[in-house]
Structure formats: C-alpha cells, structure tokens
Amino acid sequence: MRKALSTLWDGRGFDLLLVGIPLIFLIAISGSALVYNVIMSFQEVDIFSLGTFFRPFVGLDNYIAVLTDPQAWPIFGNTLIFVLCSLGGQFLFGFFLALFFNMQFPGSTYLRGLFLVSWVMPGLVTGAIWNWLLAGDFGVINFFLQSIGVIDDPIFWRSSPDFALWSVIITNIWFGTAFNMILLSVGLAAIPKDLYEAASLDGANAFRRFYTITLPMMRPTIGALLSLGLIFTLQQFDLFAAITDGGPNNSSNVAQYWAWQLSFREYDFARGATVSVLMITLVIIAAVFYVRSTRHEVRG
C-alpha cells in the first residue's frame, strides 16, 4: 500500500495523476455538457421542460424532423461552402503572408504583429465593421469597386441571396488569416536553415525548395492548422449574427446558426441540440485528424 502511494509523487502513479486530473476536469466540464446535449436530442424539449432532466423520449423523431426539414439541405450545403472557402482562403492568405514575412526584411516582425489585430478583435466588432464596409447603398467596398470600374451598380452584399454567404466568408477569411499566418510562421521558423543551404548548393530553385523541403517539413503544422481551422470555422457564429442573420431567405444560413435559431428563437431546444450533435460528429472526425497530425510532429 505504502509503495503504491509513494508512486503518487514518484513514478507511475504520478503520471496517472497528471493525466487523471485534467481528464476529470474535461469530463466534468465538456463531457457532461456533450452527453447532456446528445440526450436532449432524443427527447422532446420545450422552454418549459428545459430545467428538468426527465423528458419524454422521442427516439429519432428530432433527427427525422431536422433532416426532412426543407431548410436543412440548403443550410448544410451553405455550411460546407462556408467551411471549405473560409478554410481555403484563410490558409492560402495565411501561408502567403507567413512566407512573405519569413523573408525577414527590416521591420517584418513588427508588421507581422500588426496583422494580429484582426484576430484579437471580438467577432461582433469585426462583424459590425464589415457590415459597414459591405453595406449596399453607401458601403466602402462598393464605392471602391465602382471607382476602379469593376462594377457599375452597387452589389448588395448582405441582402442579395447570391452574395450574402460570400459576404460572411470574406469577413471570416479576413478574421482568420492572421491566426493561420502566425501558426505557419512558427512552423516555417522551425525548419533548419541548413536544409535550404544544402538544397541551394545542389542547385534546387525556389519552387523546388518549397516543394521538397518547406511543404513536407510543414506537414504536421498544416494538418493541425486545417483541423483547428475546421473547428473554428464550424464555431463561427458572431459574424452571422452581426452581418446577415442567416438571411435573406436562409441563403447565408449555416448549421451552427440554425442550431441557435431553433433553440433560442423558436425555443425548440431538442432540434437545436440535434443539429449540434450532427456538427459535433463532424468536429470529432476533425479532432481525430488533428491528434494524428500532431502525433507526427517533429520534436526539435
């Protein structure tokens, strides 16, 4: 017994303790909410039974109701477009900027720091600013596009079904690029410089060096970044609330915003929970990718 106890501060028991404490926290804080959410998706819940735990069990009714809702597939489609385009845009701009600042010209670190402004701002503030930039009648972006002659008539970014989703995507790319840039910069900085030197001596040009050294060495960073990006993008809520409210006519509605609308606008908490359970499934898949990509991380 004494021996077993003594391992608590020296040996295997200590390791278990280190793992156990955060695990308990995780289960208590995130796990219980997650389980509660899953249970709720199989129950009939309205605003009056919200506080009780024992509610009528309805089996898969909520899932059927959500999946047969005529709004569902357009919304899931929007979610897919939103996630893929935001993720792609953030990553490409982030990578470009990271490579650019990696050239280490005078003042590059300070300039790079300035880019973080967008990441630091609360989503609602970002949304409010972009709302103003994207406004149809008197927006700055329309004014700019019109004065350089790209468009003749103002585009109603937030009110046209063709553009509403894109106005949120553009804002979200602006929002997330800085974060991508910083993580990718860290990844770039970790690549040993002598690799490039050796490659240059062997006569590899810039493209080849990028393709055979930078990309493979960045693989774990990129994997982690894309998985995190997926999670952040699926979480993005503020911008929808601030810019389009999912409208017009659901043309910019996405699953996460729909879940909120169901729960807190129509007080149908069960269906709100159902939509979020469907999303959690997706995020768990992303999390598995994330964990796998960090497992391959090169230790310095």
Binding site: L50, P248, F264, E266
Partner: protein
Amino acid sequence: MNRAKLMLCVSAAALSLGTAVPTLAQEPVTLNIWTVDKTGQPTPDLAREFDESEPNIDVVYREVNFADLMSEAMRAYSVGRAPDIFAVDNPDTAMLAANGALLDLTDMIEQSDIINVDEYFEGPMASATWDGRIYGVPKATNTIALYYNKDMLEEAGIDEPPKTWDELIEDARILNDPENDVYGVAFSAKASEEGTFQFLPFVQMAGGSYDNINGEGGVEALTFFKTLLDEGLASPDTVSRTQWASTATFNAGNAAMAISGPWEINRTADEAEFDWGVSLLPIPSEDAQRSSAMGDYNWVIFSSTKHPEEAFKALEFFAEQDKDLFERFGQIPARNDIEIPPTGNEAKDEALQVFLEQMQYAQPRGPHPEWPKISKAIQTALQSALAGSQTPQQALDQAQAQIDKITGK
C-alpha cells in the same frame, strides 16, 4: 415570588413579545423584478420608487438582455427560481399563460381600484389575455406609422402623404431619386420578429391574418412589399436591415418616407435636418379597415411567486405612473384615458397624436402559445418572396402549411 416581581416579569415578557410581534410582521417581503429596461427606461426607476414607498417590501431589480429574456426566465422558472414580476414581450405572453407559468390576474384586476381593463387600448389588453383570462398588465405600447419628409414631398409637388397603397407606390416612384441616393420608402423585412412586426399589419389591413396568411389579403400585402423592392423604390437592404437602421436612412435624407414606430420620435427630432411629419399607415383601398402592429411588453407575475399580493401591488404602482410615462421615459402608455401633455416641440407633438390614433388600430401578434414558430414561418415567406425565389402565393402557401401544422388545423 412577590407580586411586584411577578408584574415585572409579566410586563417584561409582554414587552419583549410586544417588540417581537411587530418585527415578525415587518420582516420585509422581497420581490424580484426582471425586465429588459436599462437606466433611463422605466423599470429601474419605478422599481426603486416602489421600494421606497413600501417599507415592507424590498425590490430587487435585474436587467436581462432582450435576446436572453425568455430563455433566462424559463430556465429560472423551471428550477423554481423565477422572478415574481417579469415584463414579457407581448406576443410571448400567450406561450407563458398557456403553459401555466403565469398568475391569473383576472380577479385581482376586477377588485382593483387602480387597474381598470376598460382604460387600456384593446390590442395591448388582448395580448395580455389568454383563453378569456387576464394574465398581464400592458406595460407600455407602440405601433408603426409612416414618417415622411415634408420638404421632399413639397419639392415633388405632393400635397399630402399617401393614404392608400397605390398612392404610396405612386409617390415612391416620384420621390425615388437614385442619382442622389434617395429611395422612395424605407422599412424593414428582416428575418426576425421585426420583419413579422412590420409585415403582418399589411396582411391584416387587406383582410388576412396569421392563420389565414395565404388568402387574397396576404398575397396582396406581400405583392405590395415585393413591388416596392422590385421597382427599386426601397433599398434591397430592406431584407437585412433592422427598423432602427432603416429609419436612420430616412433621418439622413436617403429615404423620402419610412415605416417606423414612436420610439424613433426623439431620434428623428434630433437628427433630421428637414421638416418631417407622421401619418397613418396607408391602407389597401379607401374603405379598407385599418390595422397596425403592436409592440412593447406586458407586466406579468409568475405563478410560482410566494407574494402574489405584494407583486400585484407593485403592478398597481406601475400602472399609476402611466400618466408620466411619455414625459419621463418617452414611451406611450397602453391607455386610452391618459392625455399626454405637449412637449413644446411641434413636430414631436403632432407625431405623437398620429401614433395615438394609429394605436387604436393596433392588433397583437397571435395570441398563440407557439408564436415564435408561427412568426418564423411568416418571416421565411416574406424573405423568400422578396429575394425572388418564390412568388408571393407560393411562399405564403408554404407558410400556411407550416402554420396549420403548428396550430393543429
């Protein structure tokens, strides 16, 4: 023990009892009041004044965000910690009443010397009534009417604001001036309760209602809205803009007319650099019945309260202050017996009179316990027709099917 000592004991006991009894009775009752009101709006001040006027009642006030109002209150109610008094957005009253969450005030109001049902506007009172019983007291009220830019109308040679829908479209065509960034009219058709609030009165004027939305009236109203957008007489942003934001374009001179409420009177008076007026909402034809939206809150008492009498006393106190509601807080009391004194600003006073007249036609949304879902169906129809993906008839048919499912028809 001698007699004197005994007397002393008895009187001491009596004395201690005498002091003990009143303290027991004076144990102050605590009333919890939740509303959305911020500093400068009625409740914080009224609650404090009530607290001060009643030594036996302690009032604890809590401000709740509009977006969280219902979910917060219901969470509290379901775990038995609901406030005693709450101000509920009027279309949500039925939902609470139908589920037994509210105290039935009918008998208390009947016996009250202060609250008199006949002194309230019909619409607000109807929103506080469910199944023939009264569950709330209207806290204030508001509605919508047509703001117009007198200077612009005069310049365009239009003598008076439009009275019918056709006149409104005609005038809007004349006033519309894209060269100078001026739209004919501004309103909100946003996919939220605001959209329903602005659209439903037009349905009602044309003879429709929320449970008969795809009839001729509903289609006529939606076609009217659609004409304004399709012809570019109103900004395409109408579908995504709040009432507040759309009225701002009127105040800035970028719209010749605007459909908005009395909550804008003060702002327009401050911001508008032109002569402005307010007129009744145009009707579909000269002889059509009028209708208007009805906003604001109802005071309700949760059925879980331990102090129904004290809570009702508070409602009586609030109702008594209705006479100063406009003067002190710029809100319109939901009463037909109150003469609001002039403010001295001519435009404001005239506007107020129009809103008071319009108030008589105000109809509550619902009442129905599933109002939020019904409203969502209406918003979806409004948006899909205005965005052009469906004709008004198709959009409203779909809404009707959904509403029928909700109301169980």
